[in-house]
């Protein structure tokens, strides 16, 4: 199968007009897909052996038992996923709305605003504490996380839709595809890679920022880190920090796979 395709391509390439643009497709091997999970497993194993090698006092034992770590990790995952779902539900429709023709005049300003959040992670902290003035807990943390990461996804949605070739859209309209049809069948699929890159960024930021959710009583792996800090136990601090980092890398890895799978063929 592969050889016959290659042969036919090679045969045609002799005519200059037949010259094909090179096909750039992600040729990720199975081995490269396994690399990250194996690495993360090794980090976890290393952490486990490190903690095992220590004589734990009662404070450390209370902080580092399996059920406590499991709960904190699960809370962290929930914070990340729930906030990202809200971000997607808000930012993508908003991005579509803001790139329709009637917004052309003030789109530049909108993009600048959307860009602000990008460079300043501390805004995430501010957002969390701002919400904390009103209420605390899981929901408050979600509001804070969403408020912050909506911006990168919004920005990528707008950029993704705007970078679609005008001529492709005109060809679509010119053949009598409705406006809605052009949006759903041409614009959005062609914007998918950039939108997904935004979602991936949002996920990773959310994992990081959710570590601060502990300060407004929303749990997460931040609980472990803060417990370590307040009791001055380095082992506990390290465990919390390493687990947060592992989670961030894992989420990034999974989002990367999603990007590969969902990217339209032919791009």
């Amino acid at each position: 199968m592969t050889t016959s395709t290659e042969q036919s391509l090679g045969a045609e390439a002799t005519a200059p007009e037949m010259g094909m643009a090179p096909i750039r497709r992600e040729h990720r091997t199975v081995a490269s897909y396994l690399l990250m999970p194996v690495f993360l497993a090794l980090v976890c194993l290393g952490l486990y052996l490190y903690v095992q090698s220590k004589e734990l006092d009662t404070i450390e034992q209370r902080a580092l038992n399996a059920s406590r770590l499991g709960t904190a990790g699960w809370e962290h995952v929930q914070l990340t996923i729930v906030s990202t779902i809200f971000v997607i539900l808000i930012a993508i429709p908003l991005g579509v709305f803001l790139t329709r023709p009637f917004t052309r005049r003030f789109r530049g300003v909108l993009l600048t605003v959307a860009n602000i959040g990008q460079a300043l992670p501390t805004i995430g902290v501010l957002a969390l504490f701002a919400v904390a003035f009103v209420f605390i807990g899981f929901k408050a943390a979600i509001v804070g996380l969403v408020a912050y990461t909506v911006l990168p996804v919004l920005r990528n949605t707008m950029v993704g839709l705007q970078q679609v070739d005008e001529n492709v859209l005109e060809a679509g309209r010119g053949m009598g595809i409705s406006k809605m049809g052009v949006l759903t069948r041409i614009e959005l699929p062609l914007a998918v890679p950039i939108i997904l890159a935004g979602v991936r960024t949002a996920l990773v930021i959310n994992v990081g920022t959710a570590a601060l959710a502990t300060y407004i009583n929303a749990g997460g792996l931040g609980d472990i880190i803060v417990a370590g800090l307040s009791t001055n136990r380095l082992t506990v601090q390290i465990t919390g920090a390493v687990l947060t980092a592992v989670l961030a890398l894992l989420v990034d890895y999974l989002a990367g796979i999603a990007e590969d799978v969902l990217r339209p063929k032919g791009l």
């Binding site: 037949m18 643009a21 595809i177 041409i186 062609l190 032919g266």
Partner: protein, 409 residues
């Protein structure tokens, strides 16, 4: 000022009629299209040609209402479509733009299926249509159906663009500089292919270009436009070349109107010259015999399928020392097909070794020779014919004038 482009009774039924069509863009002092009235006969290629910014694209895009007119009427196929649902209208009008705009995330087959799907055809009919169209534009369906646009060359993409525009079998096609972004050699080939295709499908085509040579080659009728889409002349290519209506038209045609006229006739329309030929398995003596029997300086060696394979002169035979005749002499350059224009043939023969162009059919079989005398004759003949026609027009006009005067007084 009048801005009319109407056709006389000899043309076919009017397929598209633009009536007092006007387009003003906000904040632009002058209208881009200034009360244009234009009739486009069925089955013809009508070229809108003019300098950049004169309003060609705007005019064309008002026909499928990609651009909405400020005022005026658009009639397509005897139906006023000025206020019709644009999506419905566009599904009946093929549309090709310079940048092609293939959907990069869809296969060639999916791209071509766009309009048939919108028209609600069943899957079997769509499939058959895709294969038929790919064949029509000389692309093997088996090879190309499932490719993506980025896996094609520029010329192939353009072919797919044309196939996609034809997919719903529209009566009308709009083409905005369709070959503008393609290298000259491929462009020539695509133009010839397209003319061959049009001879079969007989669509009504509005074709925009800024290139007068392309206009002359492709057009059954040409509208030369000035700023504001004002018609400077609306006529057949012959008439425009022979009798430019104004200095603007003459300037736009530029120098060498006679040479441009060579784009109007094709190699198949002229009597080809006989030339001495010898079979590949013959020997040097046969070449010398053939040359002696004619007044030419070289003979054309043909292979078993009568395809040209070598030019051999008497000197080549002498120098060849008895080597096979298809190993001496020069390779056959300047090969053209019968549908090539005389201009194509001229371009080929001026750089050829023996200053002649070899004519072969689609299978490469030798048909005859075009030389510079042909070209000269053709120019002279066309000049005479066109001049006679222009005179006849003058006389008719005068008669009509008398007639109208007669009735009014």
């Amino acid at each position: 000022m009048t801005n009319f482009g109407t056709v006389d009774g000899t043309a076919g039924r009017i397929m598209i009629r633009l009536e007092n069509l006007r387009k003003e863009y906000p904040k632009e002092p002058k209208p881009a299209v200034d009360d244009l009235t234009l009739e486009i006969p069925e089955g013809e290629i009508v070229i809108l040609v003019g300098p950049s910014g004169c309003g060609k694209t705007t005019t064309m895009k008002m026909i499928n209402r990609i651009i909405e007119p400020t005022s005026g009427r658009i009639v397509v196929d005897d139906k006023d479509v000025t206020h019709e649902d644009p999506d419905q209208l566009r599904r009946r009008i093929g549309y090709v733009i310079q940048q092609i705009g293939l959907f990069p995330h869809q296969t060639i087959a999916e791209n071509i299926a766009t309009v048939p799907k919108l028209l609600g055809w069943d899957a079997k009919r769509i499939d058959a249509r895709i294969d038929e169209l790919l064949e029509t534009v000389s692309m093997s369906p088996a090879t190309y159906r499932n490719r993506y646009p980025k896996q094609l060359s520029g010329g192939q993409r353009q072919r797919v663009g044309v196939a996609r525009a034809l997919s719903g079998d529209p009566a009308v096609m709009l083409m905005d500089e369709p070959f503008g972004a393609i290298d000259p050699i491929t462009r020539d080939r695509l133009q010839n292919e397209f003319l061959r295709l049009q001879a079969e499908v007989r669509k009504t085509i509005v074709f925009v270009t800024h290139d007068i040579d392309e206009a002359i080659k492709m057009g059954d009728r040409i509208a030369i436009l000035e700023e504001g889409s004002r018609i400077a002349q609306y006529d057949t290519p012959e008439q425009i070349l022979t009798a430019p209506a104004s200095d603007f038209v003459a300037d736009f045609i530029g120098a060498g109107a006679s040479l441009k006229r060579l784009n109007l006739s094709r190699v198949r329309d002229i009597q080809l010259t006989e030339w001495p030929t010898v079979a590949r398995n013959a020997d040097g003596a046969a070449v010398l015999d053939a040359l002696r029997a004619s007044d030419k300086g070289c003979a054309l060696v043909l292979d078993e399928q009568r395809r040209p394979c070598r030019w051999v002169s008497a000197a080549d035979v002498q120098r060849g020392d008895g080597r096979a005749i298809d190993e001496i002499g020069l390779p056959p350059d300047a090969v053209v097909e019968p549908q090539a224009t005389l201009n194509d043939a001229l371009n080929e023969l001026i750089t050829a070794n023996y200053s002649v162009a070899i004519v072969v059919d689609a299978a490469g079989v030798y048909q005859g020779i075009v030389d510079i005398d042909h070209i000269n004759e053709a120019i002279r003949g066309m000049r005479t014919a066109a001049r006679a026609k222009a005179r006849a027009g003058l006389v008719e006009d005068r008669d009509e004038d008398l007639l109208t005067k007669g009735t009014t007084t």
